[in-house]
Amino acid sequence: MVNIILEIGGKKKELAVDEDELLVDVLRNRLGLLGVKKGCEEGECGACSILMNGKLVNSCLVLAAAADGASIMTIETLGWPGRLHPIQKAFADGGAVQCGYCTPGMIMAAKALLDEVPNPSEAEIRDAIAGNLCRCTGYQKIVSSIMNAAELLRKEKAGGGERCDGKG
């Protein structure tokens, strides 16, 4: 076992992990962050996508012990019922969720995009979610929901809307 520190949504967590443990398993099994989904375990499906040090990564491709000191954002730290992030709200309102398994990873990919590109084109959105597989929706409603989320976020930034992301 090795002791590591992860910063989860701004809060430091000290924990002991096995050297061969994947970050996805640590997040799910040791920290109870079950919104981080496990799909392919080889970096193909994107269901386990999280932000690590602000960058979108597949948590199944990261050894937890090597991620010591990293700051992590998962769907749980983005927003929660009653305080949804605009991307979560747009996905729920836009019918972008069917079985829901890809949704957390998809939303984190959208967050990574919108952090950098506040007004993305459809092509940029499709490119940004290329690493996230969805077998239900056909992607159309996901793309349009990310468009809507971008607009919500721009309005929020301009001071129009009520702030509803996890940062308070």
């Binding site: 061969d20 994947l22 960058k55 050894l63 290329a130």
Partner: protein, 288 residues
């Protein structure tokens, strides 16, 4: 899988670890190739040497006429680097076709080379840029042209005690252009069924090929340069160069049939990709 994870803070510690454990130690850069192999127990090293703690390994900078990349430069850093976009666009382009944003954010160019897959996207691009690798070990440093680095599928000339310290190539100048193209089984997040990179240097009028370099991926046991074809293309007017390329690509490759494509398809697509890469390289050389 049981291994010991080592997290050295300096290169000299890495060199000492590699010296002590030799083939029992494996370097962990971005992990996009290694971690799934570990997880599925396809490799079972005793020691994993994580390079993430060592500062400064992701530097990219111009050194005189050259561009230098540290061993932890990720594909996405290459995609975003204005230096690489301007003076080595074929590499930024190749890195941009690697996996998804998730894997490009983690995966490194040096790792892509060291993994030595015949389909490694960065390899053909760096081959036509005449890239040189600096390898380091406790015994000292050594420079190796990328063209002699690959020795077979997943085999390189890297000794168990060595790591890649730097990737270096000459910045493209006026009348020079390079490009990378690939075809996969789908348009994104895909490994190359075949790929091609080309470099051209044109004469002052921009009408004749003074130098051509062509490299192909996924059509031989290693990424390959097509030296014989390149020699034949020297001094040929741009519009006639395709007649030189088309019949000669097949001589330089040894494709096989596998899960991603057949030998016959690869033979046909290789010359198409070679032409597209050269065409784009010529266009860029004229634009510079």
């Amino acid at each position: 899988m049981t291994f010991q994870l080592l997290k050295p803070n300096s290169l000299s510690e890495v060199f000492q670890i590699l010296e002590d454990f030799q083939n029992d130690a494996v370097l962990l850069a971005g992990g996009t190739d290694l971690v799934p192999l570990l997880h599925h127990e396809a490799v079972e090293p005793k020691h994993i040497v994580a390079l993430g703690r060592i500062k400064g390994l992701d530097e990219r900078y111009a050194d005189g006429e050259d561009l230098c990349l540290g061993p932890m430069v990720t594909h996405q850093q290459a995609v975003r680097s204005s230096l690489i976009q301007q003076y080595g666009a074929a590499l930024a382009e190749a890195s941009g076709t690697v996996g998804s944003l998730q894997t490009r954010n983690m995966g490194t160019i040096a790792g892509n080379l060291a993994n030595a897959s015949p389909s490694a996207d960065s390899a053909p691009a760096l081959l036509v840029l005449n890239a040189e690798l600096k390898l380091g070990s406790r015994a000292g440093e050594e420079k190796v042209p990328l063209a002699s680095f690959f020795q077979g599928p997943k085999k390189t000339c890297l000794k168990p005690t060595q790591m890649i310290l730097e990737i270096r190539f000459k910045q493209l100048a006026r009348l020079e252009g390079a490009a990378y193209v690939k075809v996969g089984r789908r348009s994104a997040v895909t490994m190359a069924v075949a790929s091609a990179a080309a470099y051209v240097r044109l004469d002052r009028k921009g009408t004749t090929i003074e130098e051509l370099r062509l490299a192909l991926g996924s059509v031989a046991p290693t990424p390959v340069r097509l030296y014989a074809l390149e020699r034949n293309a020297c001094g040929i007017p741009c519009e006639k160069v395709f007649q030189v390329i088309r019949p000669r690509v097949r001589d330089g490759i040894r494709p096989i049939s596998d899960i991603r494509g057949t030998k016959e398809y690869r033979e046909r697509i290789a010359s198409v990709l070679a032409e597209r890469a050269v065409e784009e390289a010529i266009r860029r050389a004229r634009d510079r």
